[in-house]
């Protein structure tokens, strides 16, 4: 299948339907099987590995839908690893959804442990010097860090003795990080969009003092600010997808740090605007906030690193 036959926007609807279907299953691997069946896991993987061979632009609406619909799986990471491991049986297993793969953004082989913030995963890509290794962590010791998200806790994984399945060199690891930042930024942005839609439609129908709350200027202005930063994130992500004027890839870090900060703002305010209801477990805004705050934890220090590099470049 070639990109000329399909447009990313058309892919978005299929992604929505498949993710909604997957969310009706309980077990992560059953969810993954549904997603794989719809072609989502292998959207970027080689056709020889069972994938669709499409480019990153097609994975973007999938990541967005995963964020908006609150899919508790590392789908963006699965998509990218299925591509990065092209030509190996590992890629085929990821395309088919037989295994779930995540990326540890904190920790390393050298440290001996790593944290999976956006899981669950059977296989985990962990930094190893300049490059990274994919390790099988299905039998490794997992120490859950459940304070932020008891339903889908962050996991500290002990790496000692975990079998190494594949290795990415420095260049491949760098490229993978660049793409992963954009998909995870879009995941956060999707989560923000879901929260904003929920808040806007609630406030347009919640009547107090004889009028919908959206008639109140304080409410309108806050919703407008939420919309503003969400549009900024989208624009920054789309810009970072393209090479710069000289054909070099753009730094994807600012798009991610911006999208995470903006999404946290939007979701926090969406919770606030729902009043008491926003504070309840029942209203599905807190899972979005937890998901985005886990990403924030995963990429802690990234904005500072971007700033330091910019300062050095002057």
């Amino acid at each position: 299948m070639s990109s000329e036959e399909l447009r990313p926007e058309e892919f978005a609807q299929a992604a929505d339907a498949a993710i909604a279907d997957a969310l009706s299953r309980e077990e992560p691997h059953e969810m993954a099987a549904v997603l794989a069946q719809a072609g989502l896991c292998g959207v970027m993987a080689d056709e020889a590995d069972g994938g669709l061979g499409l480019d990153l632009a097609f994975a973007l609406p999938i990541a967005h839908a995963a964020g908006r619909l609150q899919l508790p799986l590392p789908l963006a990471e699965q998509i990218l690893l299925a591509r990065a491991l092209a030509g190996t049986p590992r890629a085929a297993a990821l395309v088919a959804g037989e295994r779930l793969a995540g990326i540890a953004w904190q920790g390393s082989v050298q440290v001996g442990s790593a944290r999976l913030d956006h899981g669950p995963a059977d296989w985990l890509l962990v930094a190893d010097g300049d490059g990274a290794v994919l390790v099988d962590v299905s039998d490794a010791t997992h120490e859950p860090q459940a304070t932020l998200d008891p339903d889908h806790p962050q996991m500290w994984v002990a790496l000692a003795g975990a079998p190494v399945l594949a290795r990415l060199d420095a260049q491949a690891w760098r490229a993978l990080q660049g793409s992963a930042r954009l998909l995870l930024a879009e995941f956060a942005n999707g989560a923000a969009e879901g929260a904003l839609q929920a808040a806007a439609s609630y406030l347009a129908t919640r009547v107090q003092f004889g009028r919908p709350l959206s008639a109140k200027q304080a409410v309108r202005h806050l919703l407008a600010r939420m919309r503003l930063v969400q549009d900024v994130s989208s624009a920054a992500i789309r810009r970072a997808m393209h090479t710069d004027e000289f054909g070099a890839p753009r730094d994807t870090r600012p798009a991610l740090t911006g999208a995470i900060a903006n999404a946290a703002f939007v979701i926090e305010k969406a919770i606030h605007l729902h009043g008491g209801m926003g504070f309840t477990w029942e209203l599905p805004l807190h899972p979005a906030l937890r998901a985005v705050r886990k990403l924030d934890a995963a990429f802690s220090g990234l904005s500072r690193a971007t700033g330091r590099d910019f300062i050095e470049s002057v």
């Binding site: 347009a204 959206s214 309108r220 202005h221 600010r225 900024v232 004027e245 911006g258 900060a261």
Partner: protein, 401 residues
């Protein structure tokens, strides 16, 4: 000042990157050192110097890009306009002294003026021989033009104008005022509004400068007492002209000063370079908080660049951009204002012991900080932009229907 007189402007068919490279080369070769905000030789340019510079830019194909050739423009698209603006932004050069003419009066005249008016005004604006000021705001009518009071009464072949305008930038130097009046009464609200091109040397016009927060007298109150202008000064018919102007303004709001995110980045570089040039200030750049703020600023600047480029893409595809100009203006003004605050605080310890570049930056960014107060006020305040986004982008209901 002498600029290259024989400039070969590239054929736009050779690609937007060629045009951008031309802009880059020409600007870097010709921008006088004293006009660079990061130069130790910096000084405020005189009006004549700024005019000469901007006229040379026009001659080099770097101003009036999208205006038709028949009116002195270069007949190019927004793509070249954006490419040039990226290069204008990349250099710390002064703001245009004719932005009202180029970004407001010109596009409105193009849309509602008759052929004689277009020929008389448009080429003169681009060649910097004619300056304009904007006579919209009044003491009782800022964002709410329904309360406009300045009145125009037709007397045969002439119009008699009485009223008062305020916050009129560049009124003292302007040759013409783009004046908004009403033909009826305030009860008519948005109906009966009529625009004129009024020569500023017409008897009965009085300009009273207003001193602003940055110590300059760049804007003024303008009084119109029995000012008589010929019917040929009228821009369009009552209502019709103003309605067309509103449409022009919404496009203009989204496309003017496209260089802002690139200039923002240029200013950030200037700030960091200044800190690096001074042993004491250099240590602040090792501070984690400062590094994080710089990282956040880069994210904001990238977002702004994305918004601007998206606007151009959409307009090139013929899509309506509606109220999207509000998003860019609002985001830029707030982020830039916050940046100016950071710059002021980072440079607060500069004194006689500091490096020359740090002292230059202290002067430049203190002024920038003060001037930045205006950024969330002019061209639609923050609150107006938020209203526009809520109403026109999000369609948030105000009642139960």
């Amino acid at each position: 000042m002498n600029f290259e007189q024989q400039v070969i402007v590239p054929d736009p068919a050779s690609g937007v990157e060629v045009y951008r490279q031309h802009a880059r080369n020409w600007l870097r070769a010709n921008l006088p050192d004293f006009m660079r905000a990061d130069s130790l030789d910096w000084r405020a340019a005189t009006l004549a110097e700024s005019s000469a510079w901007e006229a040379a830019m026009h001659q080099a194909g770097l101003a009036g890009m999208t205006w038709p050739k028949a009116y002195g423009g270069h007949g190019l698209t927004l793509r070249e306009h954006l490419a040039v603006n990226k290069e204008i932004g990349a250099l710390p050069m002064p703001e245009s002294v004719s932005s009202i003419g180029k970004e407001l009066a010109g596009p409105i005249i193009m849309a509602v003026g008759d052929e004689t008016q277009k020929q008389a005004f448009l080429p003169e604006i681009l060649t910097m021989r004619q300056f304009w000021c904007q006579g919209f705001s009044e003491p009782d009518a800022g964002s709410d033009l329904a309360r406009l009071r300045t009145k125009a009464v037709q007397e045969g072949e002439h119009w008699r104008i009485n009223g008062q305008k305020i916050w009129t930038s560049g009124a003292a130097k302007a040759h013409y005022c783009l004046l908004l009046t009403r033909t009826g009464t305030v009860a008519d609200k948005h109906r009966g509004l009529l625009m004129f091109a009024v020569p500023m040397d017409t008897p009965g016009i009085r300009v009273v400068p207003i001193k602003s927060i940055d110590g300059k007298e760049s804007f003024a109150e303008v009084f119109f007492d029995d000012v008589i202008v010929p019917d040929s000064a009228r821009l369009g018919a009552p209502d019709e002209g103003w309605n067309a102007a509103i449409r022009v303004l919404s496009i203009e709001r989204a496309t003017n000063r496209m260089y802002r995110p690139w200039r923002f980045e240029c200013e950030l570089r200037q700030l960091i370079a200044a800190c690096k040039s001074d042993a004491r200030l250099a240590t602040t750049l090792d501070d984690g908080y400062v590094q994080r703020r710089v990282g956040d600023l880069i994210a904001e600047i990238d977002g702004l660049k994305g918004l601007v480029e998206l606007t151009v893409e959409r307009m090139q595809r013929g899509e309506s951009i509606g109220a999207r100009g509000s998003l860019t203006k609002l985001y830029w003004s707030e982020c830039h204002q916050a940046f100016a605050g950071l710059a002021l605080s980072l440079l607060s310890q500069v004194g006689p012991h500091s490096s020359p570049l740090a002292r230059r930056a202290h002067q430049a960014f203190t002024n920038a900080y003060l001037f930045a107060r205006a950024e969330t006020i002019y061209a639609g305040t923050t609150e107006v932009q938020l209203d526009v986004i809520a109403q026109r982008v999000m369609n948030l209901p105000k009642d139960l229907t």
